[in-house]
Amino acid sequence: MNVHRTLLTAGRVLAQLRADHRTIALMLVVPCVLIGLLAWIFQDTPVFDGLGAPLLGVFPFVVMFIVTSVATLRERTSGTLERLLTTPMGKGDFMLGYALAFGVMAVLQALVATAFAVWVCGLDVAGPLWQLVVVAVLDALLGSALGLLASGFARTEFQAVQFMPAFVLPQFLLCGLIVARDRLPDLLRPVSDVLPLSYAVDAMKVVTTSAAPGGDVLGDAVVILGWVVASLVLGSLTLRRRTP
């Protein structure tokens, strides 16, 4: 681990993203469009206030998952990863560099999406707004970390893209948005208790419905962060200096 190499790697990944205006636009605009659509189809009903915030956590999670897994897969297939691993760079430098770069994008994305949801779509938030932003950033970071992990198991772009439904949709079905988590079948409830998106959605719900959500949100945030760290560590184990 080396702070200098980690920061420069993050800077390099951001410089690559900056050259790709369309990807940046998609990362910032797509969550807003989805939230806008949701507010529109549920206009004049209270549904958006209940569903808007959780989905504000889910959309960045999904977008970041895809972008990160494809970006790191590209690094593997182009041979740059193999080259980097012949240099003194550590595997942790690589993983953290990516996590930091996409963390910066996550902050941007969360700020834009939250602002849009609250000020344009009129999402009612009972708790402090900054907590909503922090949880959205954590959710996006979680997407990045899981994307980094998933890309370790993908050999081709086709596989990488399909990891999205494989990793994300089961979590989405079990996170409590479709059926409340305490009403899930007995076997699925403990699964839902382990999966990180459940906590992401839970935290968003709490911030929007409770005026002083501090403690509950903190608990959820710790679980999400734990998953982020675990995914990064596991992901760095999938990086091999020697390959067959």
Binding site: H4, R5, L8, T9, R12, A15, Q16, A19, D20, S78, G79, T80, E82, R83, L84, L85, T86, T87, P88, M89, R241, R242, T243, P244
Partner: protein, 241 residues
Amino acid sequence: MMNNVVEVEGLTVERGGRTVLPDLSVVVPAGQVVGLLGPSGSGKSTLIRTVVGVQVVAGGTVRVLGEPAGSPDLRHRVGYVTQDPSVYDDLSVRANVRYFAAMLDAPRSSADDAIAAVDLTDHADALVGRLSGGQRSRVSLAAALVGDPELLVLDEPTVGLDPVLRRDLWGLFKRLAAQGRSLLVSSHVMDEAARCDRLLLLREGRVLADATLPDLLQRTGADDAEGAFLALIDRAEEAAR
């Protein structure tokens, strides 16, 4: 100063269920440009991957600069240029070389020197993705040169380059060797043999010859490396009968 920068003994490598290198033993002397020549599929890239320590090996020992191949200490001392340019298409030439300089703990200023060495100063601010194939492979070379390696391992660095550029690159390799560096350069183009101080001819994972070009020509009575290569194959097949 050590005599051999690479010492391979009894190396066996299997890839995809096939034995690519069966029990290979070979040395690369220091301070020279050693050409690793052979047709595609002869095991050149596998041997090169083994020397830089990215290949899983089934058996044998590989020592590089006195250390086991792939040991952490070598990451500063061995430069590796892959067959396909492994650089970032969406960054400029300078951003690429500076990034690899930082990963190799080289000073920032060394990036411009490395870019000049591969004759890309005029394109330093261009995006790598916009460059021609030959230019991109030179960016890849600069990204290895920037770490000032003692041993430079290059996998087919001159493929697809025009004759002038090829001559210039071989000139650069000579200069690097004259500064005391060692180079292992693979090629499937036999006429590049004339540019190397020493040749390793590889075929089907076995060393056909390990000699200088004049020695090789004398031994086989051939006019050029290609002829010598064919003569050696014929002899080996006769001996096998």
